[in-house]
Symmetry: C2
Subunit: 424 residues, 2 copies
């Protein structure tokens, strides 16, 4: 092993209570031992570099990260919290998920999971509302919340957008959201859309007697984003949504601090560029950790089935983590209570239709938000009927009745199943 | 092909002048044709979804993205600019680099390159200074600029940090930068570091008669970052550096708009989580495109050799693009002049030492910034001697003399070569 790395591994090291623990999947490059690759990661992500430097000090060596556990390809590294600017997520990521992915010593490298020490958790507020807070605001106690994404994702004018939202609400949706790439285009400017869609929401609330919510996509340059947040607030909105990956961690922290009591919904567009390769990059679990730490109230976790790729196991692991406030990935336990940080509402979204509801609830439980875009607006009879069908699927599932049976005297559900289930 | 995707491919389509063109590498999932996979990408990244929806309109179909070229695994898609909020980088990325990486229809997918139409280029200011502007400020006309990163990357106190910087400057470095994960930790708080390091800079300028610069790492939550930017300005700093990937695109746009005449240096920590797998994710070329569009003045492009992985071809392609203002990746030409947008100064960094200089200049030319961290502070005689050696390597290279020959009567260079070159 290179001299400059040898210090960064100690398999007898016992992590201290202020250490942040990261779990990595490490595939060494050809000719590099597992120990050397792991130590190289610990060095580059803390106080080391590729060669010994004359400016190093004993005091600094003592605060270095340590590889303390290697099992197969899985490596645990302990980082003394003092290494970090503890309330600066970009800084923490520039350490534990920075240069290391490009190092020659590794062929593949994946940040799988994080275990934040109390001293870091205390520096963050986490979600303002979390699952229970959102349920209280929405006045829905037990069943999953039902959401839709206005489709087509781009192109509708503001008034058309509001109309589609209205149609979804009166059919039974609780929440209507913008899609990830709809922000403020010429065909549908942000302010006009918010005004019209919130008017439609008020009307839908009055007509249905239910709470309805609109998640306006505020993804933008930070100052512009904050102006949009203020606009939503000024118009009586309860929610904003943001694309956390394309927006980035600095602005997400800014949003959390400057959005009053607005619920924050986190869309994860672009995540799969980082998460999909199981051997490299960053796991959705790790991303969800940081999003929860900062304080999103809801986050997309995938669907198990539907249009997006995602193994059942991965989705259920993320789900368990953000709901139960415990880090407990399948094989690799890094269990730690999350102190003051509330649980996040997991959102299942992507290619879902009413036929998926029983399986979703069986796998993920009832503390989820089920979003259907095409699965509602693609209903053969239109958006309202699509929303009715989705709500019927929820009712059936909550009553323990099979969809097939419930569909016998629920026409909208039957029509949906005929399109997406029976014909397959 | 699914009906809902068929509309998104037209191999006879001729891109219009306002179209943004993206080049993707596409590997279809098993059982999916290349055409269907490509069309699925175009659909999900513009106006489509997995099923036909009743809310679609003819007008909207007309503004859809189109697959117009497929060669092997390489697919070109044209996006009408009206789809985008044209000055909102997170929005553009949520479209062309959003959900698509997770789609079932693809096994692997990579955004390789972008070609921005004039109508989008005009919405951005690009770099404030670029190569020529930075050269003017630094008063260095032809040779590469020489930079160092203070090492060890974490742990030095502010006064130690300033001393190491001073030692590097008087040895011959033009620029000294913080490392990517040094922001404002307890052991080295931002303001104290900036004050002391800029004092050291002034002293070094006076003693050497050369311009010297300090790149303070302002990576943080957006508002805090802007405060740090203001602080650097108030103290007479000329530069800030930021980790563009962990900070994120929203805050980078904010930084560009709120940093006066400060030069912006872009560090790319975490990029390899996205860029390293050649079949999936986002290329460094595409990332550099967006960074240039927003307006960083300098950006890390890798080293060809050194501690980081990165093929020679990839590095030279990125370099050519950001310097020549032309998109021209090896096999796949998407050539377009960059209108009003200045070229970015490419930074070679990561595991470099004086022995690398001739090859770097031969491959990348002289319009580069060469950064050595360990390659300077790891010099057997210390930081100043390390900087002298690096500067000697530059002198030799600019005069067309081999390092071996130049080292005969340049002791510092000889000592560096003895450590890193001759012994190998």
């Amino acid at each position: 092993m290179k001299e400059s790395y040898a210090h960064y591994i100690d398999l007898n090291y016992k992590p201290r209570k202020d250490d942040m623990i990261c779990l990595f999947y490490v595939e060494p490059a050809k000719g590099v031992s597992m120990k050397e690759a792991a130590a190289a990661v610990a060095a580059e992500s803390s106080t080391g570099t590729w060669t010994e430097v004359t400016t190093m000090k004993k005091r600094i060596m003592k605060m270095s990260a340590k590889v303390f556990d290697i099992k197969g390809h899985y490596v645990k590294i302990a980082y003394p919290a003092e290494l970090f600017e503890m309330d600066n997520v970009p800084e923490i990521l520039s350490s534990v998920a920075g240069n290391i992915f490009g190092m020659k010593e590794v062929e593949n490298l994946r940040l799988v999971d994080n275990d934040f020490p109390k001293v870091i958790l205390k520096r963050f507020k986490g979600p303002k509302h979390g699952i229970q807070g959102v349920r209280k605001i929405m006045r829905v106690k037990k069943r999953p919340l039902l959401g839709t994404i206005v489709k087509p994702k781009l192109g509708l004018h503001a008034s058309e957008h509001a109309q589609v939202a209205y149609n979804a609400w009166i059919g039974g949706c609780d929440i209507v959201k913008d899609d990830e790439n709809l922000t403020s285009q010429k065909f549908n400017p942000f302010e006009e859309r918010v005004i019209k869609t919130l008017e439609a929401r008020d009307k839908a609330e009055e007509e249905t007697g239910e709470r309805k919510a609109y998640m306006a996509n505020v993804t933008a340059e930070t100052i512009e984003m904050l102006e949009r947040v203020d606009f939503v607030r000024s118009q009586g909105g309860k929610y904003v949504m943001v694309d956390i990956i394309t927006t980035g961690w600095s602005a997400l922290q800014t949003l959390r601090e400057n959005s009053g009591r607005l619920i924050i919904h986190a869309h994860r567009a672009m995540h799969a560029a980082l998460t999909r390769n199981k051997k490299h990059g960053i796991s959705m679990l790790a991303i969800a950790d940081f999003a929860r730490l900062i304080g999103v109230d809801q986050i997309h976790i995938g669907t198990i089935f539907g249009k997006m790729h995602g193994s059942k196991k991965e989705v259920t692991t993320i789900d368990r983590e953000i709901r139960e406030m415990i880090i407990k990935p399948g094989e690799h336990k890094l269990a730690e209570k999350w102190e003051n940080i509330k649980p996040v509402f997991p959102v299942a979204s992507g290619g879902l239709h009413p036929g998926h509801v029983p399986k979703l609830v069986k796998t993920l439980g009832t503390d989820i938000i089920i979003q259907m875009g095409g699965g509602i607006h693609g209903h053969p009879d239109g958006t309202t009927e699509g929303a009715v069908a989705a709500r019927q699927a929820l009712e059936a599932t909550m009553q323990g009745i099979s969809l097939k049976k419930y569909a016998v005297d629920h026409r909208e559900l039957r029509r949906a199943l005929e399109k997406w289930v029976y014909k397959k």
